[in-house]
Symmetry: C2
Subunit: 346 residues, 2 copies
């Protein structure tokens, strides 16, 4: 618990130093080490006193008596809060990002490459989600007969996402065209959610007086041609191999990887923590509340938007011992780039 008060200037400085040292080395940090690197020449003893206070306040933990101190979640939160955020990305990183994202005009492809680039730059797990959910605005649909009893449904959202699905349905192409025209004419620009609701309402109401057109539409609707559920989300997870270098034991590592394989959970995770309204990069420390296997892991993410439309989110997941400054800068940089690139190509 952040028993807030006991954080004065000196405490702040020492806590920061501890966090940074621990992030750099991974070993519990002791008063000696700290005294050496501290610019005001404080003695180990003094530092010990401060450390004891910080430990009481819940910012530090001790693996065992004769070891140094390790930052608690609270400490990381505090540390992140007091980061200025003024840092900028190295030329090299900017280069990597730009090379990798150059010339992409497709949201999905952008997402895919971004997850890779995030993992490359952060040396952790890069994740992107392209929302395909109910909030998306419909651009248009397209149906096409495929073989004998199959129909291909293609759905394009305003955000440029393309989703397709093969349905078991036996309708002539003419009917499909009519249905597509109907939907496109009536619902272009609607959110998927609203469209589905309205469509359901109409189908219900006019049930008695169905004409051929509405019958086709109903069939398509029932078969899920208007893809809008969470399966429509596209998730890219890259760099899981980076987790191997961490200090977890086998057991934990496996659980971790398993979790990352469950795309659904990942979507939920990002959904729960990344508020679409927020502007900036968000850091969530203590992921174990949502996902037990993610104990000691943090999420650093931001919404991916073009203008005011939220297209999805991008994030890095890594151990609490991550380079916050660098990762935050990278995430923020790419988020801005996303807006810029996709905006100008509109």
């Amino acid at each position: 618990m952040p028993s807030g008060p006991p954080i004065g200037e000196r405490e702040r400085e020492i806590l920061t130093a501890i966090v940074e040292t621990f992030i750099a080395t991974g070993d519990p940090v002791g008063s000696r080490t700290l005294a050496r690197s501290n610019r005001e020449g404080l003695s180990p003893a003094t530092i010990r006193n401060v450390m004891a206070d910080l430990a009481d306040a819940g910012y530090l933990e001790q693996p065992h008596t004769s070891a140094g101190r390790v930052p608690s979640s609270e400490a990381y939160r505090y540390y992140v809060e007091q980061l200025t955020g003024r840092a900028s990305l190295s030329q090299e990183d900017q280069g990597i990002i730009k090379d990798s994202l150059h010339g992409v005009s497709d949201v999905q492809e952008f997402m895919e490459r971004t997850s890779r680039v995030l993992s490359l730059i952060s040396h952790n797990v890069g994740i992107t989600v392209a929302v395909g959910g109910p909030k998306n605005a419909l651009e248009h649909v397209y149906f096409s007969r495929l073989g004998d009893q199959k129909v291909l449904a293609v759905l394009v959202t305003r955000s440029g996402l393309v989703r397709d699905r093969v349905l078991r349905l036996d309708l002539p192409q003419a009917d499909l065209d009519a249905a597509a025209r109907f939907i496109n004419d009536n619902f272009r620009g609607w959110t998927m959610e609203a469209m589905r609701a309205e469509l359901a309402r109409r189908l219900e109401q006019e049930r008695s007086e169905y004409d051929r057109l509405m019958k086709s539409v109903e069939q398509l609707y029932r078969q899920g041609a208007l893809i809008a559920d969470e399966t429509a989300q596209v998730v890219f997870v890259e760099g899981a191999s980076n987790l191997v270098t961490g200090e977890q034991d086998r057991q934990r590592l496996q659980e971790l990887l398993q979790t990352l394989e469950e795309k659904k959970k990942i979507v939920e995770l990002l959904g729960a923590y990344l508020d679409a309204k927020q502007e900036a990069v968000r850091v969530v420390i203590g992921l174990d509340e949502a996902l037990p296997s993610m104990r000691n892991f943090v999420l650093i993410g931001a919404p991916a938007r073009v203008g005011d439309d939220v297209m999805g989110s991008l994030a890095v997941i890594g151990p609490t011992r991550i380079d916050y400054q660098h990762t935050m800068t990278a995430v923020s940089y790419i988020a801005r780039l996303f807006d810029k690139i996709l905006n100008e190509s509109e």
Copy 2:
């Protein structure tokens, strides 16, 4: 090297027993253990003699002097060869597979679920590839204006694969429709390869007398609307987390996971070893020739076909210490199911 000769009945039996014991336990197997489980009551000493012969012939290896023997790649090859293949899948496994694949009519979705189900059943890595390459026959294309200077190209192959791409292009919808009609009318049923070649030829030849239509077609072609390169392959890799339980050290594990993340290499691997013409399940032992990080790993795969058309491949990758019989049966079962399900839904 398989100095072929010294494999008589007794040798065969002992070699098989060694392989099976090693697969079951993971420990080098010694003459004692073997003598105990051997049904004809051979003494350890006799077995030792046989084992020495087998070692000379290259079928067994010794980690160190006072340890038991471990099967060599050659031994596994031999072992697999003499498997009857008569085994059938447990009801339970059949249930898992059917539940998971039930009602799927979309090749891509089938592939996706299959990779998952393969990893589940084999407790190893399940991989599927949907070929989108030059050999695929075109079903139809569809172009649609998207925003101001973008065009969405959707390409459907005979095999039911849907590929889309966003192009930077500024053509009116009418022109796009005309181009699509032209391509569909002229090239439906052609392989992507043939179509591209013919199109290139025509564009070259008639360069002087271009009309509006051919100009649109050329632009679309140049922008890559007729997706047929290897990026059109879709790869699904599931169950990488299963590798953690193996006995590799961290270093190897990480390399392994990295390799699995490189979809391109995986496609090449399957391509190199899984011959489209082959009917049955194929087992490749010694993957390190192709991928150094895959030392001690094997590939158990089969082509995924519907009738005579190859849609891709499915495979399991796991350590040499994999349950061959079970995995082979599972792969073969799913391959047959693939044909059956997608055939009847045509």
